[in-house]
Amino acid sequence: MYEILEKEVFSAVTKLIVVSAPDVAHKAQAGQFVVVRVVDEGERIPLTIADFDREQGTITMVFQEVGKSTIHLGTLQPGDSLASMTGPLGRPTEIENYGTVICVGGGVGIAPMYPIARELRAAGNHVISIIGARTRDLLFWEDKMGAVSDELIVCTDDGSYKRKALVTEPLKELLEGRNDVSRIWAIGPAIMMKFCCLTTKSFGVPTIVSLNSIMVDGTGMCGACRVEVGGKTKFVCVDGPEFDGHEVDWDLLLSRQRIYLPEEKLAREKFLAGHHDCMKK
């Protein structure tokens, strides 16, 4: 179960895996996520679905190595298996023909943006995509995003590839230049989504974000993932992960993402000290 069939290394810290999970793939839709355990003693970590293949029975995930669990996941090779995968969880993206839409993917957020852009295009939308990353190495899927977008803008924070800009800059220019954009999706680090929402707010264009809060079960049982949207408490796992970004309390999300920083550091250091050899793979 949950065998890794393929692996791609996008950068030293960004990796893609394709995992065999036929029943999950059968039901997966754009915008949903899975909860993964790397090993039996492992945490339950939520990862957004980057792609799915119902015929092959596979789920594709792209992850950035940040803490112990994702670093450990990055050491696995094709033929290895995950301890568990649960899903598909969360509500799928509401795909409709909205007219013209903008899809903003930042860093590892490009991955979940891809199936959403693809479905939006298939539904008849004019899809303008903006993808960006801190630096060239962290950028991926320019070709895939290009194939599902009518227009594609690529940028890097440091200018090491294509346009030197934060994703908010071309986003603002697009909104200034045209008044037919009816909806925007922004997926990436919380801070990027926060600033995308600040950018789009004055233009009054609904902006959907996919929140990445800490979770345990992912099924509404624990409430670890709670956020405030429009002044109301919501659970990202069952009420989301997509929300109206203009209503999200970003500072609360950012604060709650930091609850376990000291413990995460300890776990990472312990793992790296104990697994120095397999890290060389």
Binding site: V24, E43, S84, T86, T219, G220, G223, E228
Partner: protein
């Protein structure tokens, strides 16, 4: 050769004092997660078994939701026939090592014991645990199974209700698939009840027994997401479904400040500690944080479990750091008399050092830089009885005061998770989110669907869920046989 056992007279039996259960000392056990109650020795168990009067009309059985033949298993134990004791016990109860630990015997079988009228009842729960543990120590032999009936049943949720229903159906020869949303079977037995009350090795052992009956266990399968109820019935070929998904949604108070870092639902706190083994961090990966002063809001068994886990985590950390032991408070708006927890659990918590703040209700949680820094409470008094028959707590105006706490755990009860109801048309629910089901049979308003346990009753006990699973299994069997 031992001497032939002399039959005792009733008077002699009644003169034997009830045997206390050996336990870890309170100040010792708050430093570890090992089981508190240590179990009877063989001699203690035999002597306790001698107290049973073997009533002609045993009223103890009437108090048991799964109708264990109590006098029969005690008689076999007394006569040294341990395999016989196991058979008598397990004929009705598939999970005796669990029930022997977590059932509220004092309000069920033991309250009905004739000895309870004049003194102390036979310690039925402790004897049940002794017999079940003896069998686990020997290695469990599954019973012979009848030929397959060719009928397929999906049981959703591998908690007490689901495990019981699955086991009973499998023992009759039906093919059972048991779907579990989490990565480990057991439900509340795994994520809710702590290791020191119910060791997880015991849960694993009893789940393995259920699997040995031919039950196929499918973990990580969230019904409502990966398969819907209608798909299981119409596309996956199940003849019947039992829903035993429990009451898994946490409730909050909806007071200001509940989303600060350091506020947990009891579900999250206990899941991190128990299922994810947060007390073994960093050997296990999931962290859990408790501060120096913890408030647990609520006074049910879940609140007691949360308080005792917090106390242990804090005490262990204090020992490692050489710092002061933590303070753990139970904050409850009614008085001691209305506390829903078992008296024994309250005693255990208090003995370990948990402080009860009764007639106290939080009104706001304060924060500093995103973290809990205090909790404003108001004093309460008891007024007229409410719908539950308990006296309604009423705030005393002007009695607000601040508690200096850094961790708050909300243990206010739970509701059924609505996820399972996706594509399950025709399944009627109450306004509390519970499923409408016949009390005697578990039958719901939807054809071929039964339900039992907390999904029907709201949060209740392990054994009442098991009773519901058992009654539903019997009715599902009647249905499958075309009666």
């Amino acid at each position: 050769m031992s001497e032939p056992v002399k039959e005792l007279t009733t008077k002699e039996r009644m003169a034997i004092p009830r045997h206390e259960m050996p336990r870890q000392e309170p100040m010792e056990r708050r430093k570890n997660f090992f089981e508190v109650a240590l179990g009877y020795s063989a001699e203690q168990a035999r002597q306790e078994a001698e107290r049973c009067l073997q009533c002609k009309k045993p009223s103890c059985i009437e108090g048991c939701p799964v109708e264990v033949r109590i006098p029969e298993f005690i008689m076999a134990l007394r006569g040294g026939d341990m395999p016989g004791a196991v058979r008598a016990l397990k004929d009705k109860n598939n999970l005796p090592a669990i029930c022997g630990r977590v059932c509220p015997q004092e309000t069920q079988c033991e309250i009905n014991c004739v000895l309870a009228k004049k003194g102390k009842p036979v310690a039925i729960g402790r004897l049940e645990r002794y017999v079940a543990d003896w069998e686990l120590g020997q290695g469990v032999t599954p019973p012979a199974l009848p030929p397959p009936t060719g009928k397929k049943v999906a049981v959703v949720g591998a908690g007490p209700a689901g495990l019981t229903c699955a086991a009973d159906l499998a023992r009759i020869g039906h093919k059972v698939t048991l779907f579990e949303a989490l990565h480990a079977p057991g439900g509340v037995l795994m994520y809710g009840i702590p290791e020191f009350r119910l060791p997880k090795a015991i849960v694993h052992a009893e789940v393995n027994y259920v699997k040995s009956l031919g039950v196929e266990l499918r973990l990580n399968a969230v019904v409502g997401k990966i398969f819907t109820v209608d798909e299981l019935l119409n596309e996956r070929g199940y003849d019947a479904i039992f829903l035993g998904t429990g009451a898994g949604l946490p409730m909050f108070m909806n007071i200001p400040g509940e989303n600060y870092n350091g506020v947990y639902s009891a579900n999250e706190f206990l899941t991190r500690v128990n299922l994810m083994k947060g007390y073994l961090f960093p050997e296990w990966d999931t962290p859990v944080k408790v501060g120096k002063k913890v408030a647990v809001v609520g006074a049910g068994n879940v609140a007691m479990d949360s308080a005792r886990c917090a106390l242990r985590l804090g005490t262990i950390r204090a020992l490692e750091e050489g710092s002061e032991s933590p303070e753990v408070h139970i904050v409850y708006r009614r008085s001691r008399e209305e506390m829903p927890a078992r008296a024994e659990e309250v005693e255990n918590a208090e003995a370990e050092g948990v402080i009860l703040d009764l007639l106290t209700n939080p009104v706001e949680i304060y924060g500093k830089e995103g973290w809990v820094s205090g909790m404003r409470c108001i004093r309460m008094e008891l007024g007229e009885p409410d719908a539950s028959g308990r006296r309604r707590p009423v705030p005393i105006p002007g009695s607000e005061f601040d508690m200096d706490v850094d961790t708050v755990i909300m243990a206010l009860g739970t509701q059924p998770n609505p996820m399972v109801f996706t594509a399950s048309g025709g399944l009627e629910r109450t306004r509390h989110g519970t499923v409408v089901a016949d009390e005697d049979t578990g039958k719901t308003t939807k054809s071929r669907v039964w339900a039992g346990g907390d999904i029907v009753t709201g949060a209740a006990t392990v054994i009442s869920a098991m009773g519901a699973g058992k009654r539903a299994a019997a009715d599902i069997d009647r249905f499958l046989r075309g009666e």
